[in-house]
Amino acid sequence: MKSGFIPCAPFFGLIMATGFAADTADVAFFEQKIRPVLVEHCYSCHSADATKLKANLYLDSKAGWEKGGDGGGPVIIPGQPEASLLIRVIQHVEADLAMPPKKPKLPDAVIADFVTWVKIGAPDPRDGVKLVAKRGDASWWSLQPVATRFPHRSIDDFIEAALAAKGLQRSGEAEPRALIRRMTYDVTGLPPTAAEVAAFVAAQRADSDGAVAALADRLLASPRYGERWGRHWLDVIRFGESHGFERNVINDDLWPFRDYVIRSINEDRPFDTFIVEHLAGDVLGKDNPAMEVGSAFLVAGPYDDVGNQSVEAQANIRAATLDDIITATSGAFLGLTVSCARCHHHKFDPIPTEDYYRLRAAFEGVKHGRRVLATREERAAFATAMAPLNARKAQLTAELDALDQTIDSRARTELGLRTYVRPKIDPQQTVESFAPVPARYVRFTIRAFTSNPKTGDGSRAGKPGTRGAGRLTEFEVWRAGAGARNVALASQGGRAEGARSSVAEDFPEAYGPQFTIDGLFGEQWFIGNPAELTITLAQVETIDRITFSNAKGLNIEEGQARGATPCEYDIRVSRDGVAWQTVASGDDRVPWTPEHGVERMRRAVITAEEETQLAELEKQITDVQGEINRVPKLPQVWAGTYTEPKTATFVHKGGDPMKPGEAVAPASLAVLGHVAKAYVLPPETAEGQRRLALAQWITAPDNPLTPRVLANRVWQSHFGTGIVDTPSDFGFLGARPTHPELLDYLAQRLVAGGWKLKALHREILLSKTYRQSAAYRETAAREDKEARLLWRFPPRRLSAEELRDTMLSVAGQLKLEPMGGPGFRLYKFTQNNVCTYFPLDTHGPETYRRAVYHQNARASVVDVLTDFDLPDIALAAPKRANTTTPLQALTLLNHRFTLEMAAALSARLLRDDPVASAYRFTLQREPTARERTAALNLLATHGVESFCRALLNANELLYLD
C-alpha cells in the first residue's frame, strides 16, 4: 500500500540535472534571480508538486510556460515582456488576474528582473524536462485493448523473463508439506489433514507434476473452494449484513445472496454472467430466484434508513445511497474510481463527471428493501394455501366484531345512566385517598391508558392493545397521620417491581419501574405487560393515600410527549402478599373519554355466555392464525425493489443534489469510449433495461478493464499481492502492473476459457512460479524485498477466517454441513431504536461453522475475526490488511474460544502419544526431539490443555511458507 507524504524531492532533482541548454551567464541570471522566485511564489500552484494544479499551468519547466495553461498559448513570449501574460499578471495590469493571488504584489525590483529576463529571451535551462503527467488520459495503460499476441506462452516464462531482467532466478520446488499446506489453504481456506499431507508427499515422490495436478483438481472440486473464494468476492463487493449508519439494523435476509455467490463459484459458472446477474439478475431471470438473487449485490452496501423530514437531507441521503452502488459497481468490476467524479471531473483519470451520472441513471430505479423471490409455481401454491385460511379468519373476525358491537351498545346505554362525580385522572398528578390501612405491599393494576380504552394487556385477538403505550414517572405511597411522608421511596427502603415495555440492554436501568420510586419526576417507567406495579415497603406501614404522576409540572404539549397515563385501575394493599384488599379504583372517576366509559361498562354488562362466546371466537381466530403462520412463507430476500424513475437524471453541480445541472442519459462511460463500443439509451428506457445494458457493456468482449481486473484478483488470491497492487483501482493513482503482459495474458485466457475461474486457478497452481519454495535469499531480497517479481513464493499469514476455521478444524469441531443458510453471530444483537452489537465472551457450538457464514454486521467488533483484520465493510475491502498487535495476542491467549478449542483438541489426542498426535493435527508434522521434550515437560506439570493452548498460538500455525 502506498502511503505517507506526497513525494516532492525527486522531481526537482531531475530538473537540476538537465540544465545545459542556455548560455552560462543567462543561466546564472535565471538561477539567481528567477528560479528562486518561481519556486517560492509560483510552484505551490503551478508545478508537478502542486497539491492542486491551478489553471493547468506548469511553471516548473520551459515546456510548461511554452504550452501555457487553460487560457491557451504560451504565457511568456521571449523578447516581449509586454505581451507575456506572466509578466502582466505579476505587474497587476491584467484585469481580474493578479499574481501571486491573495498576496502582496512582488517587489518592483523582482518584477524588473522578470522583465529583463523575458527581454533577453527568457533563457530557461529547464528545457530537457518533459511535462510530467499529473493525471492519466485516454492513453492510460489500463484503458487499452487487451493484447492478443504475447511474447511468452506460459506464466512461468513471463515471470522468468522479468526476473532475468533483474538478474534474479526463481526458487526451486517447495518442500511437499509446505506446498500442500499452501495450496490447501489457498484454495479452500482450511488446513490439510496429516493423512492428506502424507499421501501427497508419497505421491509427489513418484510423480511430482501428476501429484500437484491431482491435488489442484481435488481442491478445486471441493465445496470448500467456493467458501474460500466466495469470501474474497464478498470483500470486493462490500457485502455486509447490517445497514450501517445510525440505526445499523441487522439484515437477516441477505444470506441467500452469500449462498448464491458460494454456489456460483463452486459451480464455476461463467463470471461474465455472474456479473450481469449482480446488476440485472431480476431482469435476466424473472421468476427464477436462483438468478434473480444476484441483484442483491446492488443493495448489499450500507443504507441510511433514518426517517428524515428535511427535503434537502432526503435528497442527500438518496444521493449517498446511489453513490454506494456506483462506487461498488465501478470498483468491483471495472477497477475505476468513478465516485471521484461525483462533484467534478476526476482529478486523475479521464472520467468526466457526466460518467458518474450516467451510472447513476442506470441505478435511478433501485430502492433498498426486501422482495419475494419465488418461482411462478411457488407463488401460485402459496396463494392457494392461504386463500381458505384468510377467508376463515375474516369470517371469524366479523362474528367477533358483531358480538362486540352488541355488548358495546348495551354498555353505551348503561353509561348514559351513570353519573360520575370524581374528576378524571390528571397526568400531572392523581391522588387516591382512603381510610388508613396497614400495608407492606401496594399493587397498582392498570386496565387502560389515556391513549386507548381497551384492556391494558392488549391481549384480545384482533384488537389493538395498549401494550407499550403507558408510562409513569412516580408512584408515591403516603404514611398516614401527622408525620406523613412517601414511604415507597427507594431511599426509604421501598422496592418497585413491574414489567417494562422497552429494554436497553447496554443500559439496564433504562425504562425500569425503579424510576417510580426515585423521588424524581424525570425518568419514566415504560409500563409493560402485565400492566401492574407492585411496591414493597421496608416494613408494614399505616397508609392513607397514594399519588401517581406521569407529567408533573409540564404543560399539555409536553405532557403528551411523555406518553399515555394509566386511567382505569385498581389499587390493592396487603400485609403479607397473600391476602389483598382493594382500597381505591379509577372506576368511579369521570372516564377519560366516553370510549373509556364504554369499555368500563362492558365489564358490568357482559354476560357469562357472551364471555364464553368471545373466548371461543378468540380461540378460533388464534387457531386459524396459527395455521396461517405454519404455511411456509415465500422467501423474502434483501434484493431491492425497482420502480421507474419519475424524473431524468441530472448532473449535480459540485455534487450537490439541490443544484441540478444538465440531464444525462443512461449510457456507457466516456472513459472507455475509444475502446469499447458505446451505447446511449433514450431517457424513457425502463430502469431494468438500463441496468442490463450497463451490465452487458461491462462484460462486453471489447471492454479491457473487466477481465484484467478479475484476472488480477485471481492472481492476488494466490500470491497475496496482485500484478496490480491496487486491485480496485486501475487508474492513475493506482499501482502500475509489475507484469503488464502477463496480466493481459491471464485476462485473455480468462475470456477465451469462457470466463471460468477454475481453469485459471489451475493454470496458476500448476505453474513452477506457484510451486516454488518460500525460502529467503539475501541477495534476491536486496533487489526485491517484497518478492513482487516472485523470486520466491511470498510467505503469508492466515486471514481472520482461516485462523478461526483452522482452530475449529484442528480441534475437530468444525461443522461443514449444512453449508449456507442464516449466518451465526459472534455478538449479541440488541435493538432499542438503534442497534448495538456486543462481542460475546463465549462462542457456543452453534458458531462452530466456517467464518464465511458469520453474519458480519457493520460497525461491530468481534473477537478473533476483528483482531485479525476482518474489515468493517462500510467500504469495499479488495485487499485485506495484515497487522500484528498485542491485542491479537491477548485475544488468542485469553478468549474462551481458544480455551475451548484447546480442550477439544486435547480430547482427541492419542493417549499413548499426545504430543505427536497434537503436532499432526495442528501442523501436519512430527515434533522434533527438542519440541517433544519441552512439550512432555509442560504436559506433565500443567496438563495437556496448556500444551494445546500454546500450539494454537504458535506462529507456525498462523503463517504459511
Binding site: S3, F5, N248, A320, T337, T836, N882, N937, A954, N955
Partner: protein, 471 residues
C-alpha cells in the same frame, strides 16, 4: 519503571524474552507494518496528546455556550423567515428562549449557561468556535463526521490518523482509547473510533471505568505458573520457527507482540485502578455522587486523566450515548422536553468535566494535552411543533478547544441573532481538524494515505487552520 515491576514482568515472561526493551519491541512492531507510518510530526508541535470530550445527541449551543439575548426578547414569536421550515423531525414553532439564564464567567466575562456553573470556571482558558456547521442533520452520520470529516462510514477517525501519523508515546497501553458512557455507545457506535482504511492497529481500544479492556485478564482457572510455562513453551516453538525463517520480520514482530501484551496485562489494570486516587480527587470529580450516571461519568473522567498521564496519544471521552426509544433520554437530543432532558444531562457533564480540566491543569498536563469538546450539530432556536424541545440544527453549533497551543478566552465566529445559522467565520469540521493537526505539528494537506484511488486526508480536500485560536 520500578525495579519490582520489572521483576514481576520477568517472572511473567519467564526467561523467554527476545532481549529487547519495550520501546524497541514497539519499534519492531511498528517497523514490521509495511504501511509504514510517516512517524512523527512535520514541524514543532504545540501539543502531543489529545483529549476529545464528545457530547452526542446534538448538544444545544443556544442553551449551553452561545448566548442569544434576542432569543429571550422575541420568545414566543415566529422566527422571521423560518415559519414554514421543515427540519429533521418536521415543523417548528415559535422562537423559544433557553430555560436557563446565562451569566458572565471569568475575567473575560464570557456568557455561559447557568446550567454549567462548574464549566464556567474555565471560560478564560477555553477558545470557543461558535460558527460550526455540519453537512448532515442526522446523528449517526453527524457524529461520524465530527470524528472523521466524512458523513459516510469507512473513513479513519482523527484519533486513528494521529495514531498513524505520530505513533505511540508508551509501550504498554493502547495509543488511542475510546471511553464510552455507562448509557452505551454514541450514535453509529464503533464507526466513531474506527480505523477506516488505515490498518487495524490504529482503531481505538474501547475501555471505561465500568468496562475493562477485552481479553486482558489471564483466564480464571489458569494459575500464574501454568501461564508462564505455557508462554515459555510457545516462546520455544516460535524461536525455533523464526530461526528457520530468516528474513521473515513478521515472525519476530509477533513474538514481540506477545511480550507487549504481557506488559499491557500489568499496566492496564494498574492505570484503571481508581482506588489509587486520594479521596479529595474523587470528591473533586464527583465519583461518589448519588446520581449513578454522574458518578459513572466522573470515574471515566478520572480514568481519562490517568490515561493521558501515562502517555495515551488520543483519548475520546463520551458523555451520553445513542438515540433511544425516547428522544433525549440517553443523550443530548432534546426534541420534546428540553428542560427536563438537560436537567438530567447537564449535571452529569458539568462537575466531572470541569474537575478533569482543573486536574489536568494542576498537574501541568495541559502543556502537552489539547482538549477539544465536540458534538455533532446544534439545535433550533425555535421549539419543535407541539413540544417544548428543539429539533436538529446542522447550520450552527459550538465547539471549543483548550490546553496545549490554544489561546484561552477567545470566541471565534458567530451565529445570527437567534443562533439559527452560523454567519461569521463559518467553520467546518475540516477547519476544526486542520487546526487540531496543526497543533500536533502536522500539515493537514500533507498527512495522506492512499486508498482505492485517492490520496486520502483527514480533512478530505478542505480545511484551513483557524489561526485566531492559536496561542
Amino acid at each position: 519503571m520500578t525495579h519490582s515491576l520489572d521483576l514481576t514482568r520477568r517472572a511473567f515472561l519467564g526467561h523467554m524474552s527476545t532481549g529487547l526493551t519495550g520501546v524497541a519491541l514497539a519499534r519492531l512492531l511498528a517497523g514490521e507494518l509495511r504501511a509504514s507510518s510517516p512517524s512523527g510530526p512535520q514541524f514543532a508541535p504545540k501539543a502531543k496528546q489529545v483529549l476529545q470530550i464528545f457530547c452526542p445527541g446534538g448538544a444545544s449551543h443556544v442553551d449551553l455556550w452561545d448566548h442569544k439575548p434576542l432569543l429571550e426578547k422575541f420568545h414566543g414569536t415566529p422566527m422571521p423567515g423560518g415559519e414554514t421550515e421543515v427540519t429533521f423531525q418536521g415543523k417548528n414553532g415559535n422562537l423559544m428562549k433557553s430555560p436557563w439564564a446565562f451569566a458572565p464567567a471569568g475575567q473575560t466575562g464570557k456568557m455561559i449557561s447557568t446550567l454549567l456553573p462548574h464549566m464556567a470556571g474555565h471560560a478564560d482558558e477555553m477558545a470557543f468556535i461558535h460558527s460550526m456547521v455540519s453537512r448532515t442533520n442526522t446523528h449517526g452520520p453527524g457524529c461520524v463526521a465530527m470524528n472523521t470529516c466524512f458523513t459516510r462510514e469507512g473513513f479513519p477517525s482523527a484519533g486513528s490518523w494521529l495514531s498513524y501519523a505520530l505513533g505511540s508515546l508508551n509501550d504498554d497501553l493502547p495509543t488511542y482509547i475510546a471511553i464510552q458512557d455507562l448509557r452505551g455507545e454514541p450514535p453509529n457506535g464503533k464507526a466513531n473510533w474506527g480505523n477506516g482504511f488505515l490498518s487495524a492497529q490504529h482503531q481505538a481500544v474501547s475501555m471505561a471505568a465500568h468496562q475493562p479492556l477485552r481479553n486482558l485478564a489471564r483466564p480464571a482457572g489458569i494459575p500464574p505458573e501454568q501461564e508462564r510455562a505455557t508462554r515459555d513453551f510457545l516462546q520455544l516453538m516460535n524461536a525455533e520457527h523464526a530461526a528457520a525463517h530468516e528474513g521473515h520480520d513478521e515472525l519476530r514482530a509477533r513474538m514481540a507482540a506477545y511480550e507487549l501484551a504481557a506488559k499491557m496485562q500489568l499496566t492496564a489494570p494498574a492505570v484503571s485502578d481508581l482506588s489509587r486516587e486520594p479521596a479529595h480527587v474523587h470528591a473533586l470529580y464527583g465519583t461518589g455522587d448519588r446520581n449513578a450516571l454522574k458518578a459513572a461519568y466522573a470515574k471515566n473522567c478520572l480514568l481519562a486523566r490517568r490515561f493521558l498521564e501515562k502517555g495515551v496519544r488520543y483519548v475520546s471521552l463520551y458523555c451520553a450515548s445513542r438515540a433511544s426509544a425516547v428522544d433525549g433520554l440517553l443523550n443530548w437530543d432534546a426534541h420534546k422536553t428540553l428542560q427536563a432532558d438537560y436537567e438530567r444531562h447537564g449535571p452529569i457533564f458539568d462537575q466531572p468535566t470541569a474537575a478533569l480540566l482543573t486536574d489536568l491543569k494542576q498537574r501541568g498536563l495541559l502543556q502537552d494535552v489539547l482538549v477539544v469538546w465536540c458534538t455533532e450539530f446544534g439545535r433550533m432556536p425555535t421549539h419543535q411543533d407541539g413540544t417544548s424541545g428543539r429539533d436538529h440544527n446542522p447550520d450552527a453549533f459550538t465547539t471549543w478547544m483548550m490546553g496545549a497551543g490554544v489561546r484561552g478566552g477567545v470566541s471565534y465566529g458567530a451565529t445570527d441573532d437567534f443562533g439559527r445559522r452560523s454567519v461569521q467565520d463559518v467553520t467546518t469540521v475540516h477547519d476544526f481538524y486542520a487546526t487540531v493537526l496543526h497543533l500536533l505539528g502536522l500539515d493537514h494537506e500533507k498527512l495522506t494515505y492512499y486508498h482505492n484511488g485517492a490520496n486520502r486526508r483527514l480533512t478530505d480536500v478542505h480545511g484551513h487552520v483557524i489561526k485566531p485560536l492559536l496561542a
